[in-house]
Symmetry: C2
Subunit: 273 residues, 2 copies
Amino acid sequence: MQMMQGCLARNPFARMTRLLGSVQCSREAGSRPGPQQQQKQKPLTMAVVLFPGFELLDVAAPGELLGAVPDVARLFYAAQFPGPIASSCSELAGGTVGPSLVATHRLLQGGSISDAAGGQPFKPDAIFIPGGKGVRGEVSNDFLVDWMREAAHEADVVLTVCTGSWLLGVSGALDGIPATSNKNALRNGHPQKAAPNVLWQLEARWVEHELRRSGGRTTLFITSSGVSAGGDAALALIARRAGMEVARRVAHRAEWSWQEDSSVDPFARDYGL
Amino acid sequence: MQMMQGCLARNPFARMTRLLGSVQCSREAGSRPGPQQQQKQKPLTMAVVLFPGFELLDVAAPGELLGAVPDVARLFYAAQFPGPIASSCSELAGGTVGPSLVATHRLLQGGSISDAAGGQPFKPDAIFIPGGKGVRGEVSNDFLVDWMREAAHEADVVLTVCTGSWLLGVSGALDGIPATSNKNALRNGHPQKAAPNVLWQLEARWVEHELRRSGGRTTLFITSSGVSAGGDAALALIARRAGMEVARRVAHRAEWSWQEDSSVDPFARDYGL
């Protein structure tokens, strides 16, 4: 996969564990959506990828906030095997199996999805990969890994939350790209070991990076830190697509205290990163 | 229902729209769990009450955080009609129908629940009422309103999030009790009109109140502000049952920036409350 890099990471001064290739950064570029980004855009069709043991809040916080702005994104909850998919509530730290969310859509070979009844397949404009306990098994799920790589390559937007970046990283779709992940996982070195070509940023609430591909296309990657950070990252995506005022209004309605600055990451320090 | 009041509200100095009866408050009592509250307690069996149009994050944030500590609570997702229950993502403000969560348990007359297959009924120790668009219809659902009143009367803990307090208030279970709700709903006067005997507190991230009932029993009411505030309130419940250190650990794992002080409520000011 040929890549030309243009970095819109909002915390370009955060430490990176590995730096491959040259990354041109502009703090300004990512700090506020420019006039072009605030233009009315077609809503993204976004596949929310569910798998057994996804972390409940990884999905639900962005789901709530993006679901509040259908002009920005229309969410399709999709899985390899549609139907109820059991979530996880911090199971790796002694928590429980969480409630099941219903996947109404099926992942299809080649990065498409269709409704569970076998309707017309389509390629989503955006994909959203949560993390969770299930990641440890899914990294060996060739179907899912292939799906993610193919869908990410064609997507306008790729959003990951928590260890979703570890899972996506295994597919190679994040190679050479600045990204972050769950702080505990990063402390333990899991994402770095599984996907050594990702430019892991240890200190960042979330990271935005716009990848320029051949043919003039771009893919915006937004990777967030653990669990709750997904809400902040989803708001950043809303800000890019619809402007800061819309993003602030969504946060306000949900009484979500948005950490607007992606470089403010107290959890990195807490975990010694 | 006879009530003897002992206020453990954590923001006893917040304004109340109505004050019925005498409420004895102690800021100290609620600010940190005392030795008694930190004693090892049996996990609460908690019925999470789902209804069509519940707000996704109202359920998922406390679900995630309480699900992380099975020594504190074991959650049973229950509905009048078990199966997939469609959530809402800020639909009243132009958002969308959200993903469906699966209710595995059925609400039964008299405040009990059983698994959906009709297993042995039991009375939950705790009930959790979320808010959402669906509240506007469910306030006229006599079965649900009766279930809530009866279950709340026998429960050790009652937790509401967002307009869940409006719904519970209609049952009479919050009469004479300090409680809060979604800020936008409070600004528009909806909970106050629907449940005028509740001691509505306009400025509070959440409110805790321990009600002493006849026979020496108590019910702890924790009512939270809108949507995301439910996570902070759930952590307050964890702190009461397992101590502050456990609550902070749960927040830390989820990278949730916990607003530990229930009286800090910037959204109240934003909404002119």
